[in-house]
Structure formats: C-alpha cells, structure tokens
Symmetry: D2
Subunit: 442 residues, 4 copies
Amino acid sequence: MREFFSNVSAIRYEGPRSKNSLSFKYYDPEERIGDKKMKDHLRFAVAFWHTFGFRGADLFGSENMIRPWDNFTDPMERAKAKVDAAFEFFEKLGVRYFCFHDRDIAPEGETLGETNRNLDEITRYIKRLMNGSDVKCLWGTANLFKDPIYTHGAATSCNVDVFARAAAQVKKAMEVTLELGGQNFVFWGGREGYETLLNTDMRFELDNYARFLHMAVEYAREIGFTGQLLIEPKPKEPMKHQYDFDVATTLAFLKNYDLDRYFKLNIEANHATLGGHTFQHELRYARINDKLGSIDINQGDPLLGWDVDRFPTDVYSTTLAMYEVLKNGGIEPGGFNFDAKVRRPSFEPVDLFYAHIAGMDACAMGLKIAHRLLEDKVLDNFIEERYASYRDGIGLKIASGEINFRDLERYAMEHEHIQNSSGRQEMLEAVLNEYMFEQQRS
Amino acid sequence: MREFFSNVSAIRYEGPRSKNSLSFKYYDPEERIGDKKMKDHLRFAVAFWHTFGFRGADLFGSENMIRPWDNFTDPMERAKAKVDAAFEFFEKLGVRYFCFHDRDIAPEGETLGETNRNLDEITRYIKRLMNGSDVKCLWGTANLFKDPIYTHGAATSCNVDVFARAAAQVKKAMEVTLELGGQNFVFWGGREGYETLLNTDMRFELDNYARFLHMAVEYAREIGFTGQLLIEPKPKEPMKHQYDFDVATTLAFLKNYDLDRYFKLNIEANHATLGGHTFQHELRYARINDKLGSIDINQGDPLLGWDVDRFPTDVYSTTLAMYEVLKNGGIEPGGFNFDAKVRRPSFEPVDLFYAHIAGMDACAMGLKIAHRLLEDKVLDNFIEERYASYRDGIGLKIASGEINFRDLERYAMEHEHIQNSSGRQEMLEAVLNEYMFEQQRS
Amino acid sequence: MREFFSNVSAIRYEGPRSKNSLSFKYYDPEERIGDKKMKDHLRFAVAFWHTFGFRGADLFGSENMIRPWDNFTDPMERAKAKVDAAFEFFEKLGVRYFCFHDRDIAPEGETLGETNRNLDEITRYIKRLMNGSDVKCLWGTANLFKDPIYTHGAATSCNVDVFARAAAQVKKAMEVTLELGGQNFVFWGGREGYETLLNTDMRFELDNYARFLHMAVEYAREIGFTGQLLIEPKPKEPMKHQYDFDVATTLAFLKNYDLDRYFKLNIEANHATLGGHTFQHELRYARINDKLGSIDINQGDPLLGWDVDRFPTDVYSTTLAMYEVLKNGGIEPGGFNFDAKVRRPSFEPVDLFYAHIAGMDACAMGLKIAHRLLEDKVLDNFIEERYASYRDGIGLKIASGEINFRDLERYAMEHEHIQNSSGRQEMLEAVLNEYMFEQQRS
Amino acid sequence: MREFFSNVSAIRYEGPRSKNSLSFKYYDPEERIGDKKMKDHLRFAVAFWHTFGFRGADLFGSENMIRPWDNFTDPMERAKAKVDAAFEFFEKLGVRYFCFHDRDIAPEGETLGETNRNLDEITRYIKRLMNGSDVKCLWGTANLFKDPIYTHGAATSCNVDVFARAAAQVKKAMEVTLELGGQNFVFWGGREGYETLLNTDMRFELDNYARFLHMAVEYAREIGFTGQLLIEPKPKEPMKHQYDFDVATTLAFLKNYDLDRYFKLNIEANHATLGGHTFQHELRYARINDKLGSIDINQGDPLLGWDVDRFPTDVYSTTLAMYEVLKNGGIEPGGFNFDAKVRRPSFEPVDLFYAHIAGMDACAMGLKIAHRLLEDKVLDNFIEERYASYRDGIGLKIASGEINFRDLERYAMEHEHIQNSSGRQEMLEAVLNEYMFEQQRS
C-alpha cells in the first residue's frame, strides 16, 4: 500500500508532559475508565467527507488544499487512493471506525447503474482493507443534498422523479452499508425543508418524508440490515428551514407518523447550537426520551450563524457531553463521529492529524472528568436532595398520580408558607471547574 | 362610571385619507371580508397586564408611566378602577375581548383564601360591567411566574409545596375564567424550564408537568369548563431554557404524555422569532397539525434577543399570519390577543390608543391582503401546479403508500433524466408586494 | 450580437395593475420624483458576479444553474459571451450601470502577465459594447478573496508575497476601472480579518492594511483616477472576524490611519444586519459622518446567520434606505448595486429578470414613499418639535458650548421638576404605514 | 459593627484539593506570578449594585432575595447597613476594591440638594470604614439610566432639563468619587442611544454627548480628579441601539470629537458578546489602540440575547482575557470589577460568596495559565515566525512604508509562485488545552 502521510508515524499516547504535538496527551486507548477501556467508551469515527474530501472551498474562496490522493486522473483510481489514504490515516491515528456517504467513496457514473457499479467496486476494495485491520464502519448514509436534482428536496421534493431517485439512492446506500458491516445508517435531511413558505405545501412534504422513511424501514428489514437507524437533526443551512429542526421537532415528527419505534437520533454539537440549544441539552433531551443513538462530535462558534464544524476542543462541552453519554450507559452501537473539518488556513495534510488529536484528547479529558463527576455523585447527590420532597407524603402522591387539584388546593391552603432552597448554580459551576482542572491528579 | 381617558373619544373608522391619528384607517369592523365581517375575523383582545398593568420598568429603569387608575390607596379600589379603565378602553377602542392573568385583576391578600376572595369580588365587578356591554373574555390564565415561590418553576418546581400552590392557583383561575365566560384557558410556562442542567432532573420535571396538565384537564371537565385549553410556547426568557420551546417541541411533549387531544396552542409572534422561526412558520406548523388555537399578535425586533412585545405594525408579518388563519378557517374560539406593550418612551396614556390602533390597522390590512391572495388563488395555483406530479402515475402510488424502494429504484433507473422547475421565489415575492400595495383599490 | 435571453423582451413600466410578471409595476424610469427622474435617483447597477457568474453552488450542493453563455470551450470566448449576455440583460432590463471584480470579467492565465492581458482584452471588448449603449461602469474592484493565496488575507496576509500580489492586482483593477470610466472603486476586505487570535498579530495586520490603502490612494492619484474610493464593511464571513466590521469600525480605522479624507463607504443591507444593525442605522451613521458613498442593495434573512444576499423586496427596508439617501441629497457618484443572487431553487435564467424586477420595483416604491414623507415633513416636524428645548435659553448655550457643569448644576437645582413628552413610536409607525400603503394614490 | 454574614468566616486559600466550598482553590493572593503577587495582578472589585443591591427581580418575576441589611425602615439607616454589609463582605472575601453608582450607596431625597446631602453623609460613612481597612474605591459612576427622567437619554436626551440634571449628577458623582479616592470614573451610557430612528436626530444627540463629555473632562481637571476616565461600551439593552456599541465604535466617536486623549475603556465580557465579538477581541482591539483601561469581568450566555451578567467561570475566557492584560503590562489603575449577579435561583446570601469565589478562582487559573503561555512564548514564537517575511527585503520596505504599487507589481511578476504555510489553528488550540489542564503541576 502506498503511503500518503509518510512524514507522520503512528500517533501514540505520551501523556500530558510530552512536547510532541503528534502524540496524544490524554487519550490513552487502553486506559480503563470505570468498566471499560477508553477506546471502548470513545468509539471514535473519522468522517470520510471532511477528512478526505474537503478541499478548503468556502462560499468566497476556491479550494486551497492539495491532497496527494487526488493525483490520479482516473476517477476510480482516485477513489481507491482515497481509501488507501483513509486506512493509513485510521491506522496511524488509532481510530477504529469510519462514516461515509455513498458519494464520498465512489465517483458517479453516467447512469445510476454505472454509479452503483462504481460503488460496488469501491465497497469491495474497502472490505479488503477492512479485512486486514480492525477498522469498522460506524455508519453509512446517502448524500441527498449535493446533486442539483435535490434542489427542492429529496423525499420532500415537489418532483416525483426526485423522490424515486432518492429512494433508489438510499436503497443502494443501505445495501452498501450492510455489506460493510455498518452498525448504523443515518438520515440527514439537508434539503428536506423549504426556502420560502410561499411555494411550499408543508403538510404534503412531511407526509412524503414519513412515507419515505417507512419504506426505508421496510427495506432495511427486508435485506436484513439490523443496524440502528438514525435521524440527524439540523435547524437550517443549506435550507432556510429544515424539517428535522432539533431533537424535539424530530421526535414530534416521528411520533406523528408512527416512526418513533424505528429511529434514534444522531446528534451534532454544532447543529444543537444553531438551533438555540446547548449540546448537552440536545443530548439530555434525547437521552430521557431514549433516543440518544450516536453523536457527531464537533463544535460551533457561538458568534457565527452557520455550521462551522470545528474540531471539538472545548473541554467544558466534551465533559458535559460525556456526562450524558455515561448516564445513558454508553451509546453503542453509536459512536463519536468527527463531523469536523480543519479550518481553511490549516490546509496542510498534517493538520488533519493535529485536528483529530486535539479532538480526541478533548474527548478523553471530558470522559475522565465526567466519569469522576459520576463516581463521586457530586451532581447526583445534589439533585437527589433537591427533589427530595417528591419522595414521600403528598410529593409521592403527585409522582404516582394519585391526587387531584382539589386535594392539592386543600394542601396549599394548609401550607401557606413556602420555603425554597437555593439552586446553587455558581457553587456547582465551581465544582465543575474543580473536577475539570484536577483530573490529571487522580 | 368615572372616565380615565377623557381626552379620547370613541375611535372610528375614517379611512386611509383621514389625518386623524385617533381613527382607524383600515380597520372597519363592519366591512365584509369574504363570508364574515372584519370584526368577526379579527377577534381582537386587549391584554390586561400590558395595557393596564405595565408601568414602563425595564431591567435598568424604574417605572415611568403614571396611570390615573392607580390613584387609589386601597388595593381593591385600585383594582376596580383598573377594571373601569379597561372597560372604558374596550368601549372607546371598539375591542370586544380581553385576556387576563388572575393576578392582573385582583390584588393578593395575606393568605391564599383572602387572595381568592379578592379575585371573586373583582370577578363579580367585571361581570357587572360585562353585562352592560358586548365585551367578552377571550381567555384567562394563572400567573405562575411572578411570585418568588415560582423561582424554580411551578408545575416543574423541585419543591412539592410549590406544585400544590400552582395547582390551587390554576384551579381558581379556571373557575374564575369559567365564571367570566372565558372561551379559552391558557398555560404559559414561563418558569417551566431550567437555568442550568447541572442541578436539573429534566425527565422528572417533564413528567410532573404532564401530571399537572392531566389534572387540569380533569378539573376543567369536572367543573364544566368547555372552553379550549391552550399552551403557549416560548423558547427562553425568563429561564435559560423553557420546556415549551416552540410549537414542535410542545407537540412532542403533548404526544409523549397523551395530552395532545386536549390542547391546542396559543402562538405568539415574538416567541416564534426568539425560537428561530418566522411567525408564519409556527402558525403553519400548528395549522397542519390541527393545533392552531389562538394568537398573541405582537412583533419582535429581529436584532434584539429578548421578548420585546412590540405592537404589530409590519404588514408583511400580519398578512402572512392572516393567510394561515384564513387557511385554517379562522381560529374561533381563539382570537388575536395584543400581547404587546407600548415602548417605554411612549409613556402617556394616549399612547395606548395609538399603539392599539396601529396594531389593529396593520391586522386589518393583513386580513384584506391575505383574503385577496386566497380569493385569487395566486399561491394555491402555483403550489398545485408545483406538486402536480404526485397526482397520477407513480406519484399517486407514493402518495397513497402503494410502492416500495424496489419499485422506486426500477422507476429511477428508467427515468435517469430529471427535470426540475424553478421555485420562483423572487417572482412570488413580487406578487406578494403587488397584492400588498394594491389592496386599497379593490 | 447573439441573444441569450431570447424569450424575454425589454421590460417596460406597465403600472401596478398589469398582470405581466415581466413588467415594472412601480419603477417608471421617466417619472419625476422631486427634482429628478426616477432613473436618476435610482442609479441601479447589476452585479457581474452574482447575475452572470453565480451557478447555484452552496456549501452543501453543487452548481445547479445552466447558463447559455457558458457553452463555449475557450475561456476567452466564454468571457466575451458573458459580456454579451450582460449587455443584453442591461438593455432589456433598462439598467444603466454595472459593477465588477477583475476576476468576474476575464479568466486567469498562467501568469499574472497573461491574466492582465486577458483582462485588457475583455476590457476593450466591454468598452466597445459600452460605446453603443448608455451603460456605464458604477464601480470596479479586485477580487482578493477567492484565490487560495489569499487564505490568510491579502493586504493583511502574514506572507509578504501575498501582499505584493494583492497590490499588483488592485493596481491593475484600478487601471481597468479607469479605462471603463468607472465612477467608483471599491475595497471589500473579505479576507482581511482573522480566524483565530491565537496566531494573529492584529496590530501589525491593521498597520499593513492602512499602508496598502495609502498606496492605493497614491496610485489612484498618479494615474488620474478621480472616482470615489469606497470601503465596504462586513462583520464576518468568510472570516471569523473581519476588520471592516461595520460603518463605525471602519470609520475608526480610517481616522486612526489618516485615511478618512480619501474614502467613503459602500454599505450593504445584509452586512448591516449581520453586524447587529438595521440597514437604516448604517446608512444614517454613515450619512451624518459624511461617509455615505454607495449602496449594495440587497436583503438578509433576520433568522439566518450568514450572508444570504437576497434581492430586496421588503418595502419597509427600501423606504427607510431611500429616506436616508434623499436626506443625503442623493449618493451620486455612488449608486444602488444589486449585490444579490437568485435563490438556488430559482435556477432558470428568466429568474434573473424576475428578481431584478422585484428589487427595482421595491426600490421605486421605497423612493416614492420616502419622498412623500420628506415632502410632508412628517418626521422632520416631529423631530424639530422634539428637540425644541435646545434652540434657546440654556439649551442654546449647551448646543453652542458656552456652559459648564457648575452652571448646569445650578440650573438643575432650580428646575427640579422635569417633564418629558412621549416619543410616540407607535404613532409614528402607524404614520409610516399610512404613507406606505397610500402611495399609489398620489 | 453588626455582622450580616455571620455563618461565613473569612475565605482562605486552601488549594485545589480542599473540599471546602467556602475556600479558594486557585486564588492565592500572596502567590507570586511573574513580577507581582496575584492580588496585585488581579485587582478585584465588588460591584455595589449587583452584590448588595440586586434582589432577584427579572422582567417576569418580582424580588426573591431577602437581604438582612434591608431590615431597616429608615432609608439612611438602610444605606449604612448596606455599607456595613459590603465592608464585611470585602473583608471576608479578601477583595480590596469596590465600584459604585451614586444611587447604589445613598437614597434619593425630595430634591437634588437633599439627595446630594444624603450622598455626602454616606460618603463620609464609607470613608470611615475605609480608614480601618485596606479597601479602596476602584471606580465610581453616575446612574443615568434608572430614573424615569432618563427615558429618552441623559446627555443625549431631547430635553434640555434632563441634560442639565445629568450634568449635575455626574458633577456630584465625580466629587464623591474623588472624595473616596476612586482611581477611575466610568461612563456607561445605558440610555444614550435610541429606540427608533423615526424620532431621532442622531447627529445632534452625538454632538451633545460629546459636549457633555468635554465638560466632564474639564470639571475633573478643575476639581483635581486625576483618576482615569473610562467609557464602557455596550451595543444594546436597555435601548434598541446604544451609541457606545463596542470598542471600535466608541473609538470612532472619541476620535470624531477630539476626546480620545482623555478616555480609556472599561470592557465587559458580556457586552462584547452581545456586540458580536469575543471578549478577547474587544480587549485586544482596545489594547493595540492603547485604550484598555479596566475590565468588567463577567460572562454571558452565548445562546441568550440579553445581558445575563453571570459570574465568570469559563476558564478559556478568563485565560484569554488575562493573556491580553499581561500583554498590556497590567491594567492599573484599572481592575477587575465583578459586574455579575447571582442567578435568580441562587437567592441566599451565602450564594454571593460562592459566586465570587467561583469567579476569583477562575480568574486566578486564567492568570496562571496566561502567564505560563507568555513565559514559554508558545504563541509569541509562532507569531514571530509566521510574520517573518516582513522583517527583511521587500517585507521590511512595506513595513517601513518605502514602497509603492508599481514596485510591488514588479515584485509580484517576479514571484509568481506563492507558498503559504498552515495557520495551525487546531494545533494551537491543543496547545492551549495542554497549558490549561497542566497548570496545577507547575
């Protein structure tokens, strides 16, 4: 196998005192955190599109990243070189999962048939490389947003031919994901939304979207794909409004159309903040509704109104995310997909390593801190105490639904003087800081 | 009855050429729009709290508005004077509905019992005034956010005594609303949310919130309140996060807890935009889910991140809102509540008239424009044509659920060449402008 | 000359009752508004890049717009076809100005020399077409943001070679603009800013930016370019932060480096709102500082956090913009450049006409309304009255700087009772609506 | 002296392993960081208004905080009790500075004269307490936003009587600040802005604002106040738009009116983010313009659009702030004023301690991390290398202004091939994390 990152050798854990930028300071895959090794908690995945496909273009600038695996004229050769580069990267970085869209891995042909054959050939190529490694497919998906035919949506397009094409594409992507042993299949409806309500039949579009997903569920069963099905919420961009706005909106949709038993959610940090929520909020809301399926671990810029997809380096954010994940008992078969891209000025291939290292270390720190917070029950104990009044007496009656407004009024009349206790937010924030900045000692 | 707005006489419709600022230019209650008079389309309501209770305080400034009905030492006398002022205002403005919180109309006493007796007395006083007029109660609600006891929430408080008090308060507010013939009862959960997840058991709080609402439904049935029950979504403020974030989130909650058959929504323009949606979006999403119950008609400032509650004067916004309302077949028994306050620098009593006139005229214009858009079917025809491919052939099969991924793939393979049509957004925006600026001619 | 828009004939003014979507309803170039014809007030310009260069790509989708002038293999032939299409469009639309970046009009060659020769050839080609028409160049500019070399900035790059290239490019663009009789030259520093402060010497970058602009001023003088020099503020995007954040920031920069006498500003609606200001605010602030040079007339979406560059159709916005322009005595030699692009779903060539018509009509309405507001002095009279206390007595002393804190304290002690008057915002908003919706009658 | 916080004893530094919530974990006043003790770097000040005056009211809720120093009927007694509580708090917390508005410390009387006498009496009372302690006044200011007379602004009011009153108030507040040995005097123009441009003469208001500040400068000189004069930028709230929008806008204003030599800026974290900037950005921009005077150290919530004034606990933010401060050579005579309030649910007096401790510890951590970053020159070295091309050859000529566009074009023609280097943002973010999470070891 040719080598594309010849100036980078395998990244090792060297601990926080190392001065080697190409080493992990905190992510030690074999370190045991609670009942699992760090690598089993943190099922990291590399995103094919951003890591091997992003070339630095933005809306005002053209591509500025030169990737050696692009130096092949033949599209299929180029696709295979990209796969080679990917597996070299996975190995050197020590990441055991990848995620992909159908169109990331294989070039389109003249016809859908040819496109599918290309996909099959590259799929076989990937499988061969997987055989010689412990790299697995976390999830696959179909890209239903880039092609001009999806201008008005895919499953929600006003054009029936587009709906059919989208169906054909998801069908094939699901087959390929199955073939690669993918543990999940993701739906991100980047074009399922609208630009203006003036020309939109929202009800009909949502109905169609649901029909599409029901067919997908049926087809998954038919071919024996037993992986988890995931929807990825995002509020806007590229569309003015997207139907899977946030976790709650997606949940409402799933329930509305009797789809909720089939799907969990793939939650992205930057999509959460674009929707007006903290990352932790979206994870928490999904968790308590048993919908926390997988995570796109990245980071937004709170002062920028678009999807910046930065690598996650804010340890507050990773800590609180890992807290929800641990509370959820992990997210297997989901994982942590780096849906993140290097900044445009970080255009050198080695920056891909720096960026993933930065993100993996930040997640590792977050995991360790969250684990200690949970082990010491610092928040749990506070919360248990805070809601204690619901554990007996009238509180228990409320919690068990054995009381009504009349009884409650009588109780209220007899308990005029109400005494609350402080929520102690600032103290808890200080406690969080203590755990964050003390972690390395333990 | 004493007169509080003696310098203002009844506001009349004088048409767009009038130079009298204290007249309606567009709102002509008797004008027939389609099958109803304008006054029956636009079931305007005045909000007791903002119009008669707001004194201009903001977070950096103290009260700057002097209201003559405050010039009474005795709290009950003051409360009655406020009611007098309100009815004088309703009559002079020609508005036939009002909305209130329990605490807007009557002063609190030393005990809950005394508070309730105060409420009863004022309720009788209001009823007497209602008898002599055609003013009705659009909706009542309980203020569960102002009192310090609600610091940690009401139905979602961590303190069982607070839950009980909130129940008692809603029980009484519902009785009073029934007594006043209120056509709806509203729940706005201003404190049902959290400041920080560090101390919050979100799942338990949502469970309790649902229990509370179930008890409210049960109690309404028990006392024979047959009005509509409404939840009013808002994403944040005063809390960092509120549970009824937006229409979709509220719908998810209602479905989650089998409450959706009992509630519709009261949608506020400014809450929509704080949640990242257009007002029309929230109305549309509610409408297609049969949840459009009533409207708090006001306006935000898209560059300000808090609830500014301006009077609605943007005719684009009122037009698109009225469009959804007409599509909904009206919103009766709901209405259009001016949940809007005069700007702090508009501190004179007469500004209350100017502000309501501005809002009523903007709504009247919106109604007329929307009606003509619908009558001419300019948008409907465009949309019908746009989705035409779903009305026969494979499109019809999709729409009727008679097809699967395999068939769709086959179809897609046979229909490689896909042709979309333009969505014509700019043309439609020009059409909207034509209807907006041409209305007076018709 | 070949015809590219053969299905569209010249757009005529047909008045508001016309049902022809390809006609002006409000823009009547020959109509006299005050002392000038509408076409002389509204010096509209078409933007080469968006109108002839935009192909519909966004960050998640590839190009979806097919333009007939692209059907030429040879780059120079293609460039000439684009110019032909542009002039056909200008003529049919009746727009008399255009704006361009150097890279919009001519393809890059292998070397800077060849690129410049290409530019010269196309410039001659354009001049020939200009000769046969009354189309003029409103402004030219250099594209210092698209090429990968500008990744770290142009004048503010950390790389001296980039600074030199940017200088060479501006030099040439200025020569070409002069050759085309351009009435202004614009600087938009899309890459002059930073992605992260961690690697940025902000002070040095600003110094360099100023040095660059001083050289530009000097070179303009040297070659006899007497047009207006303009800086275009924008807060962010593509960079995380741009140095010309808004009008005030740009003014501070110009003053800091003794550049303020040489530059005015080119103000864009969507950049204003991205910066947290209304469009009117930025125009007003520039106007009172004598810096209102020219306008990029478009429209943002207040709920989207990126530069959407919609065509301006909100007549509130165009009215208040025209109000500032009229107050400024016009903006000649500046104009109204449609820095706007059709929405991606409006991908047909005819949408370019619909979009410009929508924008031109909205500006024409805005102009007429603003003119009537000014003629009737409705706002001026209110303001004059509002500040009347500064026209004599102690007010006059303050306004003429003849008083100090001691005297003011004495006065304050003697005038304890202070009486303010209402600001009447709601009444004024109603008045604005009256003028807006009554315009067609006059 | 009576004791108000009897359940809290003096807060000591106990180090990061302490489990005592009422101790400092990181703030050790006597620890030497570089050339100064921590307490001399971190000139912390407690804000009179938030810490002793805030009672928990928000726009939807009434006061929920009971403070023992309010238990006095007589206003002057209450004011003195508040001062006692403040000094007890300063001592126990070990903070050596305080900040105040005139109206925070003394009650208003019937007349301005009486109000001033009250102020004098409390000033004497404070001075007496200062005598027995090492507590100093960091800055004073006049509250020109709370009183209804300031509804339309203070120095920018349309009413000359208000201008005079504001002058009298600033005059007195300056005298009192001088009397208390205040090291700075601050102007925050909370009402200097507008609600709507429809009724606003922006130019005249800015002129008046400048006249007012010139008089203030003159009066300071007259009375021998040699402290630093500071303006505090804020973009909005309470007004729709405030004139001192951000650092750059304020700088433009100061330069416009020849005021820049007299004023520096007081920069608040939450105001920075409301204005669309990072806190570090505002500090950096002020620093390189020699305008970094003092700091209001707090924290916003990036998802909330109003001034939340949280206590600063995000160590990323404090680290980058301290970095700018150290680069500035400190900010003496300025300091770090906790313009922060406890969350409404943290309503117990002891929460004031928790909150300040959380903030002081976060600042101490930030200081230590920033110091180590600077000592190791990790960022400085990277930046020096990054801009190296400007230190000789043509770069030096640019930097020293000895070159023009012609020469640069010639150079560019000869240097066609341009090679940039990566900006390494992700690597630098990882380095920042390494320094942040390793600090305690050193």
